[in-house]
C-alpha cells in the first residue's frame, strides 16, 4: 500500500519535481481563484488562459523551447489583452465579457497559427497541455518566484481587494485603492496562468485556479475557510492526480485536473454549504416583520 502511495515519489526524481512544482503553483493559484470566484469573474481566468497563448507562441518562435522566453511572452500578451479588453469595454458600447470573448478567440487562433509555423504537433501539445514531468531547476525557481510575488501582492492588496469586492462604490469615493486592487488581481491571474502553463499547459492551467476555489465554496462560507480548504484540496488533488498519472499511464496535467474534477462532482452532491444531497438550509436573510 505504502509502495502504491509513496513509491513513485521515492523512486523517481521527476515525480518529486512534479509534486513540488504543483504545490508551488497551487499556493499562488488558489487565492487568485478564490477572489476571482467571489468577484464572479471565474470566466476571466479562462479568457486569460487563451490570451497568453500568442505570447507564449511568439516566445517559442523567437527563442525555441525556452521557458523564460515563453513566460515573458505569455505575461506580455496576457497583460495586453486584459488592458485592451478593459479599455474597449470602457470606451465603446460593447460589454466587457463580449469584448474579452472576442479578444481571446483571436488570441487563441493567433497562438495556434504561430506555433504551427515552426513546430510540429508535439510542440503544440506541449504548450497547450504542458508537461509536468519535465520540470527542471530553472522552471521550479521561476514558479517559486511567481508564487512568492503573488503571495506578497495579496498581502498588500488584501484589504482593498475585499472592500472592492463587497462595495466598490465605498472605496471609489475614498480614492483609487479599489481600482488598483482590481487591476492587481487581473495581473495576478495572468502571472499565475503563466506559472501554471509551465506545469499544466496554457489550457489546463486555469483549472488549478478555478476548480479548488469552486470546490471550497461548497464546503466553507468564510473567506479564510475557503482559502484554506482550496489549498488543501489543490495539494491533495495534485498528489492523487500525479499518482493516477503514474499508475494509469495518463498525462500529468489532465490527470490532476480530472482528480480535481472528481472532487468537484462529489462537492456538488455532498458539499456542506449548498450540496444537492444536503438538507436545504435557507441562506436567504430572514425578513424582519
Amino acid at each position: 500500500m505504502l509502495e502504491l502511495l509513496a513509491g513513485p515519489f521515492l523512486e523517481f526524481g521527476f515525480m518529486r519535481r512534479a509534486l513540488a512544482g504543483c504545490i508551488v503553483v497551487t499556493l499562488g493559484a488558489v487565492p487568485t481563484g478564490v477572489f476571482l470566484l467571489l468577484r464572479r469573474m471565474s470566466l476571466i481566468g479562462d479568457v486569460m488562459a487563451h490570451a497568453i497563448l500568442p505570447g507564449v507562441a511568439a516566445g517559442y518562435l523567437l527563442a525555441g523551447f525556452s521557458i523564460l522566453a515563453m513566460t515573458v511572452g505569455g505575461l506580455l500578451a496576457g497583460a495586453a489583452v486584459a488592458l485592451a479588453a478593459g479599455f474597449v469595454a470602457r470606451k465603446t458600447a460593447l460589454k466587457e465579457d463580449a469584448s474579452l470573448a472576442s479578444f481571446y478567440l483571436i488570441s487563441l487562433a493567433l497562438g495556434v497559427a504561430l506555433i504551427s509555423i515552426k513546430g510540429g504537433g508535439r510542440d503544440l501539445l506541449h504548450v497547450l497541455f504542458g508537461n509536468i514531468f519535465a520540470l527542471d531547476d530553472g522552471t521550479l525557481m521561476l514558479l517559486g518566484s511567481i508564487t512568492s510575488a503573488t503571495l506578497l501582492t495579496f498581502a498588500v492588496i488584501y484589504r482593498p481587494l475585499v472592500l472592492e469586492c463587497v462595495d466598490s462604490a465605498y472605496l471609489g469615493v475614498l480614492g483609487r485603492a479599489g481600482a488598483l486592487a482590481h487591476y492587481a488581481l487581473l495581473m495576478l491571474v495572468v502571472l499565475n496562468l503563466v506559472a501554471g502553463f509551465n506545469a499544466l499547459g496554457t489550457l489546463l492551467a486555469v483549472g488549478m485556479i478555478i476548480l479548488p476555489a469552486a470546490i471550497a465554496s461548497f464546503w466553507c462560507q468564510s473567506l479564510a475557510g475557503m482559502l484554506a480548504t482550496g489549498l488543501a484540496v489543490a495539494v491533495a488533488g495534485s498528489y492523487l492526480g500525479l499518482l493516477l498519472s503514474f499508475h494509469a499511464d495518463l498525462p500529468g496535467g489532465p490527470a490532476i485536473i480530472l482528480t480535481l474534477g472528481g472532487a468537484y462532482f462529489v462537492s456538488i452532491l455532498c458539499g456542506s454549504v449548498s450540496g444537492l444531497l444536503m438538507p436545504r438550509k435557507s441562506t436567504a436573510p430572514i425578513p424582519e416583520s
Binding site: V162, V173, L174
Partner: protein, 239 residues
C-alpha cells in the same frame, strides 16, 4: 454646483443645475424615477464626471465624504463578517496595512452596539435582514466620521424600527454640524425630517425650504392629478 450637467450615454440626466448646499445643512433630494437623484449623488462623490459645470466642495476634499449607495450595489453574498464590514469605515485612517488601535476597536464596538448588531458581529453580512443591513451600513458611516454624508434611498424596504433608528442617527449627525444630503422617495418623511429639499425635475429643478418645495397643498394636488406623466412629484416650476 455650478451649471452642472451630466450625461449618461447620450442621455442628459442632469441639465444645468445650480445648487449650493450650505455647510451643516440637512437636505432631501426628491424627484421622479430617472430624474437624476442617484446620478447627482454619484457626481458629487466623484464617481461620475460632469459633462459641463463643476462640483465644488468647500473646506474639505472628497475623502471627507461619506457615501451610502443604494443597497443593491453591495455584494451581500461576499463572505465578510458584520464586524469587518463596519470596521472598513476606518479605511481612510488604517489603509491596507495598519492594525486597529485599542481605541479604534472600542469605537467599532460602540458603533455595533448603537446599531443593535453587537451579538451579530461574527455573522456574515448575507445573513442580515434588510433592516439590520441598513443599520450596519450606518454604523460604518458613523465610524468613518465624515464631514458630509450622502445617502441614496436609505429608507427603502426597511422596517419602521430601523427607519426610526436611522432618523435618530441622521438627527445626531446634523446636530454635530455635518452636511447631510438624502435621496428619498418618501415625501411625508422628507417633509417632517428634512429642513431643505432639492426637487429634481429636468431644467425646472429647485431647492429651498422643504415646506415651500413640498407644500401639503401641492402634494395633494399631485396625488389628485396623476396625469403629470410617470412623475410622482409636481412637474411644475416652483416660486
Amino acid at each position: 454646483m455650478r451649471q452642472l450637467s451630466v450625461d449618461i450615454g447620450s442621455h442628459r440626466v442632469i441639465d444645468q443645475l445650480d445648487v449650493s448646499f450650505a455647510a451643516g445643512s440637512l437636505s432631501a433630494i426628491v424627484g421622479a424615477n430617472g430624474s437624476g437623484k442617484t446620478t447627482l449623488l454619484r457626481t458629487i462623490t466623484g464617481l461620475l464626471t460632469p459633462t459641463t459645470g463643476s462640483v465644488t466642495i468647500e473646506a474639505g476634499t472628497r475623502r471627507d465624504l461619506g457615501y451610502l449607495p443604494q443597497r443593491s450595489e453591495v455584494d451581500r453574498s461576499f463572505p465578510i463578517t458584520v464586524h469587518d464590514f463596519v470596521a472598513s469605515g476606518l479605511w481612510s485612517r488604517c489603509g491596507s496595512w495598519r492594525c486597529l488601535s485599542a481605541q479604534q476597536r472600542s469605537a467599532i464596538d460602540r458603533a455595533l452596539i448603537q446599531a443593535g448588531l453587537r451579538d451579530r458581529q461574527r455573522c456574515l453580512i448575507g445573513s442580515l435582514s434588510g433592516g439590520q443591513f441598513q443599520r450596519m451600513v450606518f454604523a460604518r458611516l458613523t465610524l468613518q466620521d465624515p464631514g458630509a454624508i450622502l445617502l441614496d434611498e436609505p429608507f427603502n424596504a426597511v422596517d419602521g424600527r430601523t427607519v426610526g433608528i436611522m432618523l435618530d442617527t441622521i438627527a445626531r449627525w446634523h446636530s454635530q454640524g455635518r452636511t447631510i444630503i438624502v435621496v428619498s422617495h418618501d415625501l411625508p418623511l422628507a417633509l417632517h425630517h428634512f429642513p431643505q429639499t432639492l426637487l429634481l425635475n429636468g431644467t425646472a429643478s429647485c431647492y429651498g425650504a422643504t415646506r415651500d418645495i413640498l407644500s401639503p397643498s401641492r402634494l395633494a394636488d399631485t396625488r389628485a392629478k396623476p396625469a403629470a406623466g410617470a412623475a410622482d412629484i409636481p412637474a411644475v416650476g416652483i416660486a
